[in-house]
Symmetry: C2
DNA sequence: GCGCACATACCAACCGGTCGGTATGTTGGC
DNA sequence: GCCAACATACCGACCGGTTGGTATGTGCGC
């Protein structure tokens, strides 16, 4: 609306519809198995429109990964777990949210970047890099909280905040793979439960927060 | 050799060469991106030979998953970690072996089943099932040791041996995905280090083994 | 001399990508 | 206020090449 012309708005809409449809089809079938023809048909646009907006199928892959990152980062940015006082509670809140997201159908909770990168890894370096940036960028949103939780407890762990953040993503990606292989969302949930247990274990070793506020019950959960 | 006719031997060789080549190409490129023509050319056989041994490309996928399972199960069956006295040492020995395997190139340590199932999940149920059986079957080889470690400590954990066995596979599969996405084997090794720490934590909580033998130093490692 | 293990030639369908054309704005000169 | 000149967004027929799969021929061990 505002000041955009109608043609611009329509073009953006076509592009977005293409990207959203690509997200769906690639998550379902993989990148290679999603043909440009199929994608266009599913999005209700012609091939001409597709190649007007994207230089190649590979570039669609790159932009789809970015579009996916945009969507997910918006979703997690507004999540409630950021409000917790104790940084550990924020981390556990993140894990609890991921765990809750595994209660739907498999096709709905899997990760575009993780699915696509396995195929794109050797064949489409630009796509691989975009997927790497998506996953790495998402992991990065956890690092500050992990560092804060370490600092609050005066810990000096053998592991880095960065490596733990990436480990959470590895567990999630692996949970998706197992869910698909065993056709079971339950197995993915179990794995995230193990992850939660691990994080509690890491931060439980050096007891409770040292001083100041007296209202933190160490672990406050409000789901299930 | 022994009593097999030379034609039988040759046929088995052609078939095996096709399967071995499929393992390599599919791990590198994915299933959809590996064409039958490419596969035949790489294996040095003709298309006629391919369709003599496999009814379809999908069936090749199924048999490739089984062939992969055969190879890996043989590899792990003869590994040294089975010899450890304490079941926990056997589990940690397995994890240490997996961790050591991550020291090569990415293309050499990734898992055929995990790579293929992401594509095959919705499109080729027979392949998905074969991959599920491969991963599930491999996880199963850990269950007895985990149960023994639980029993030896008189534990009654909130988690099942089965779920921990599957969790190890989730971490490994996720480590492969991250290694590909970030083009870094180190990130995969870090994740397996976290897994090892988690397992030690799970079994450390309820102290040392209760009685009997007095020679077990709780954790014996012989690598690095 | 028969059948198994291939080899060769071939097929229709589909692939990613191109290209000439058009419908619909948008803009600047007057 | 209008129109010529241009830009954007899209259309869909078409291209060469590749796909999974097949039909038929051939050599060779038993």
């Amino acid at each position: 609306m505002s000041k955009a012309s109608s043609s611009e708005a329509k073009a953006a809409d076509t592009r977005t519809r293409l990207l959203d449809t690509a997200l769906r089809l690639v998550r379902e079938r993989g990148f290679a198995a999603t043909s440009v023809n199929d994608l266009c048909a599913a999005a209700g646009v012609t091939k001409g429109a597709f190649y007007h907006h994207f230089a190649s199928k590979e570039q669609l892959g790159v932009e789809a990964a970015r579009h996916w990152a945009d969507g997910t980062s918006a979703l997690f940015a507004q999540a409630a777990y950021h409000a917790a006082e104790d940084p550990l509670d924020r981390i556990l809140g993140y894990v609890a949210l991921r765990r809750r997201m595994l209660e739907g159908e498999i096709a709905e909770f899997t990760c575009l970047a993780g699915t696509m990168v396995q195929e794109a890894y050797a064949q489409h370096p630009p796509i691989r890099d975009a997927c790497g940036a998506t996953i790495g960028g998402h992991a990065q949103t956890l690092v500050a909280d992990i560092e804060a939780a370490i600092a609050a407890r005066g810990m000096a762990p053998a592991w880095s905040a960065q490596s733990l953040a990436l480990h959470t993503q590895a567990v999630l990606q692996g949970a998706f793979v197992l869910a698909k292989a065993l056709d079971s969302a339950a197995v993915a949930r179990d794995s995230v439960d193990h992850l939660e247990r691990y994080i509690r274990c890491l931060f439980a070793a050096d007891a409770a927060p040292p001083a100041a506020s007296a209202d933190a019950p160490a672990t406050s959960e409000d789901e299930r």
